[in-house]
Every structure is written in structure tokens, then in C-alpha cells.
Symmetry: D2
Subunit: 197 residues, 4 copies
């Protein structure tokens, strides 16, 4: 697949958002348990707010976006269920306040959801999901967290990301690149927080 224009034009932010010592340690089996648990809880809290972002985007979006956005909501709902079962298994408490870094990211998303046009929000959602796919797909699906790696480097998740990229292409907006870039800055900070606390 050709590299999406939004990704190509964002420059070094892309690598900064999709590579992290957290992921390297996870793949190598050397991640401290407290970092894994922090990531699990904070990513869960992030995903709950992302669901609200996607729902508000859906409310604004035209007819040809409905199907992929609703499929994305269904997938995100399954993901929340998966986080809940992992948290039970690993005895991680999900009823926590969000970390400041998580909160900044979701404050940004929800503010934009209510105030930006749907075409900008499409580019943002593509940024969230495409960078997540790239980050996990770079890892070998082995070791204690193979299931995690496979989850977000699957063909199914790849097809969803490709569909979002297609929607962003069909609905361009002059502010799309700027907000796509900002998403990546938040992604980078989130990975760092997951490792460092």
C-alpha cells in the first residue's frame, strides 16, 4: 500500500509516534509489570474517550462514512471488553483517574470532536489508528505479549485503517494535516508516559 499523504507530509513525527522503548521492551519480554499495568489502564481510559470522539464524529459525518465509522465503534467496543478481561486476569484496577498525559490527549480529542468539522476529525481518527497499527506491526508477534501484538497488527485492523485513510482522502480539509500532526505528538507522549509514569 502506498504511504498515505498525511503520513508522508508529517515528517519525523511519524517515527516518533510509532517507535518507543515501551514497545521494544514489551516485544523483548523485558517490560516491567508496573509499566504494562499502567499502559493497560491508561489505554483503556483513553479508548473510552475515543469512543465518545468517534460517536460525535459519526453524528456529523455524511452517508458514505456511516458504515466504516459504525464498524469502528463496534471494534472499539470489543476492544474495551478485551481490556476489561485482561485487567481481570492481570488484577489491574481500571477505575483510576487518567494520567495527565492521557487527559491532555483526550481533552484535545473531545474539544475537537465538538468544535471541528467532520473532515478534520476523519484525519485525526486516521492518525490515531494508523500510528497504532504501525507501532504494533513493527514488532515480532512472539513472547508473553504475542496476543497484544497480533491484536493490533492483524489484517482486520489494517483494513480498518486503510478504510479510514480512504475516507480522509475523499473528504479533504485544509486543516487536516495540522490536526493529524497534533495527534501524533500526543501518541508519542502517551508511549513515553506508559514506560516512565
Amino acid at each position: 500500500m502506498a504511504i498515505h499523504t498525511l503520513i508522508r507530509a508529517t515528517g519525523p513525527r511519524w517515527d516518533e509516534a510509532t517507535r518507543s522503548p515501551f514497545l521494544d521492551a514489551l516485544a523483548a519480554g523485558t517490560l516491567p509489570a508496573d509499566a504494562l499495568h499502567r499502559w493497560l489502564a491508561q489505554d483503556y481510559l483513553f479508548a473510552k474517550d475515543l469512543l465518545a470522539f468517534q460517536a460525535i464524529l459519526l453524528a456529523k459525518a455524511p452517508r458514505n462514512c456511516h458504515q466504516p465509522l459504525i464498524e469502528g465503534l463496534a471494534a472499539l467496543n470489543s476492544e474495551l471488553g478485551w481490556f476489561e478481561s485482561q485487567a481481570t486476569r492481570l488484577r489491574v484496577d481500571l477505575d483510576l483517574p487518567p494520567h495527565a498525559t492521557c487527559r491532555r490527549y483526550t481533552d484535545f480529542l473531545i474539544r475537537c470532536a465538538y468544535t471541528r468539522p467532520y473532515a478534520v476529525l476523519l484525519a485525526m481518527l486516521f492518525g490515531v489508528e494508523a500510528s497504532y497499527l504501525a507501532a504494533w506491526s513493527a514488532l515480532a508477534p512472539a513472547g508473553p505479549y504475542a496476543e497484544f501484538i497480533e491484536r493490533w497488527s492483524s489484517a482486520e485492523f489494517g483494513a480498518y485503517v486503510a478504510a479510514l485513510g480512504g475516507l480522509a482522502d475523499q473528504h479533504p480539509h485544509e486543516e487536516a494535516q495540522q490536526y493529524f500532526n497534533e495527534v501524533l505528538v500526543h501518541e508519542r507522549a502517551f508511549w513515553r508516559m506508559s514506560l516512565e509514569g
Copy 2:
């Protein structure tokens, strides 16, 4: 199934919202084509705005509402596709302005979606769907529009309505009855408009 409290307490509005000469004529095969076409186009326009209502509700709703609300969005998306294929088959133009009666109903829904708490919105959505189920389920699934009748008296649609009623029970609100009642008044007006123009 026991009659839901919201239905029992609404009084004669329930019958007024769920029985109509439009539906009687449709079941009897005596419905004028122009009334069918008007209903088809206006119900499609209504459903597009209902999708926005449901999406904004989802953005506000707590975790245990996510699954049924997302399934409802997926079903509504399929329904929009079904309307589009029926419109093609029957050569009905869907690119129309909404009728004043349709517009009043969706103005009410969208205003509430942005300004009322999610628990009120759950009661409203239950009102929309439960009255639709009751209206169509009262008809014999035969004649030229058997497919229409079966669509909205199916066990699957009944299960969705029951799930919405359950959510309304779990999330009560002192304003729920009032807004449920208002939905039914709009439902009644919609059926009348469909027949009379």
C-alpha cells in the same frame, strides 16, 4: 412480556402513536402510491437524523449502554441501505427537503440530544423504537408490503426494543416520562403526514 412502565403511564398517546389509517391502508393493499412514496422518503430523512441522535446519545452514555447502542447504530445503517434500495426499485427520489412534520420531529430529537442527559435520551429512543415495533406488529405480514411489515415486527427488532426498555429501566430519570410522551406525539403526527401529505 410485561408492558413497560413508560408505555403504561403514557395513556392514550400510545394507541394514537401506534395505530394509523396509513398502516391500515398499507396492510389492506389500498395505500395510494404517492403516500407510500412520501412515507418512504420522509422516513429515510428521519432515520438519517435519528442516526445522529443515537450517535450523540452513545457519546454520553455509560459503559453498559455501549453494546446495545452500537448494535442499534449498525441496524439503523442497514435500514438506511434498505430504504435506498427500495427507493431505487420504486423510483422514489430521496434527495428531498424534509416535510415540516418530519423536521419538527428531528428538530426535537437533535435539540434534546445536545441538551438533555443520556437517561432522558434512552427513554426517548425506547419511545421511537417501541412505538414503531407496536405499529407494524399489529399488521398481518401479507400483501404487497409483507416485507415492510416483517422487517419491523421481527423477533430481532423486538429484542432490540426490549434491550432499550431494559436500559431505560436501569437508568431512570425524572424527566423520562415527559420526553417519552413527546416522542409519541411526534410519531402520531408523522403517520398522519405520511397519509395526508
Copy 3:
């Protein structure tokens, strides 16, 4: 002052929205008390929702709209106080549910406030206020309701309406005329409801 383009292009809706038997009877001193009281209460309820409309518009509007929109909010707040003192004087209960006609109008306004761009909302606000100015300015400021007539045909109110017309000119939008027209249809219905109940 030249007639504003939005007014000229709206056709007969303008006269229909700005002339009414209610106002003729009020000026002639023949208005039944119950009609005056109904109008007073319903216009008060309308104005409270109009305040919300104007506030949401302000939140979306660019810098050069701030001053007139905030002055408009201050004037509307004074107007609400004036209605409250008139209601006390005339022993009219303001704690009523809105009439269906009032509710339809504010459902339309609030829905648009949340979903339409600010430029469309400017045209709508101009429609609300310009038609009100025209309706009251056509009456001779005499008789038992001279104070009412003077209130909405004052030079100050005229200057505010002219400022709103100027903002609508500076911030045109392809949907402005359509929504301006819809405002006038609601205005007409409101006057009729005030007289007829």
C-alpha cells in the same frame, strides 16, 4: 436604510411574518386579555431559549462579532427582566410549559445552534430580530400597550438589528437564505398562536 438582501429575497414570507391580527388588535386596544397573557408567557419562554441560541452562536463566532453579540445578550437579559416585571404586574404565570408552536420554534433554533456554522446562525438571528422590529414598528405607539410598541420600535433596537444585518453581510453563507426563510415561517406561526391559542 436599504432593504437587506435576505429580506428582499424572501418574498411574501416577510409580510406574513411581520403583520398579524394579534398586533392589529393590540394597537387598537381590542386584544383579549388572555391572548396578551399567552403571548407574554410564551414570548418569555421563547426569549430564554433565544438567549441559549445567542450564547452558542457567540461561542462559534469570530472576533469581529463579539461586541454586537454580547450587547445583544445584555439587551436580551434586560428584556427577560422586563417580561418578569410585566408578568408580576399583570399576574401572569411564567412557569408554564411552552406551547407546541413555541417549542417547535425553539427546537429549530437550538438544533441549528449546535449543528450549523456561525454564519448561518447570524442570518437566523437577523431574521428573528429584524422581523420583530418590523412588526412592532408598523404600529402607532399609543394606547394601553404603547410601552410595548415603543420597546421594539426604538432607535436602539433598530441599531442592533442594523448591526446584525451588517454581520450577516460580512459573513455570507450559501445556506443563509434558507434558514432565514425558515425563521420567518416560525415567526408567523408564533403570532397566530399568540392570538388563537
Copy 4:
């Protein structure tokens, strides 16, 4: 005046939000010009988003909040005009992107404006303004920036802050303290950014 409950219960956050090396240097006449210019531009950008926050709060607020909130909007509009004239005088460009610290603060405010109840927003607005009053009132109104100091330690500004504190008292909410606290954390970061870039 007794110390407001929200202030007393917030603990050391209050001093951290209302004392800063930036203000000490400003009062002592030793503030570097680039820090002053950065503060001027970023506080202007902040105030523009605060205006949107206040407008959305107004749209949600009950009748007895209207007058003080609209007066607050008028004062904020004057303040924006004052910033614009200061920027012209000092040749500071106001057409800049917000600093990440400014953006985090306004992302938080705007997200809450759309998603939190008005009573929480009242507590937040009180936090923004009361901490600003306290920060400037601690300085001697002398030196090159005496006008700045006088502006935000004036009796008029004090009366507005007292009115907001009164509204927060009349409309308590269980989440008020938490969101008040978060405002103060953003205030502290803003002062630091103003000095350090």
C-alpha cells in the same frame, strides 16, 4: 471577605497557582521583554477560548446566573480589546499558534464546557478568575507595568470574582472541587510557560 470554601479546600495548589517568578519579575521591573511578549500573546489566545467557554456555560446556566455571566462576557470582550491595543503599542504579533501549555489549558476548558454540567463550569470559572485576581493583587501597583497590575486587582474585578464565588455557592456540585483544582494546576503551568517559554 471570608476565604471561599473551594479555595480553602484546594490546599497548596492555591499558592502554586497565584505566585510566580514571572509576576515577581514583572513587579520588580526585571522581566525580560520576550517573556512579557510571550505572556501577552498567549494570554490573549487563552482569553479568546475562555470567551467560548463562558458563552457555552451561559447557554446552560439558569436564570439567576445570566446577569453576572453576561457582564463577565462584556468585561472579557473589553479585555481582548485592551490586549489588542497593548500588542499594537508593543509590536507583539497576536496571530500566533497557541503554546502547548496554553493549548492544554483551553483543550481542558472547552472539553468541559461541552460535557460537564453548568454547576461544575461555574466552579471552574471562579477558579480561573479568583486565582488571577489573587496573583495580581499581591503585587504593588507601580513600575512600568502598573497599568497591568491595576487592571486585575481593581475593585471592579474583585466584585466580579465575588459574584462568581456566590454563584458557585448557590449551585454546588460534587465534582466542583475536583475541576476547580484542575484549573489551578493549569494556571500554575501557564505562569511557568510565560517566563520560561
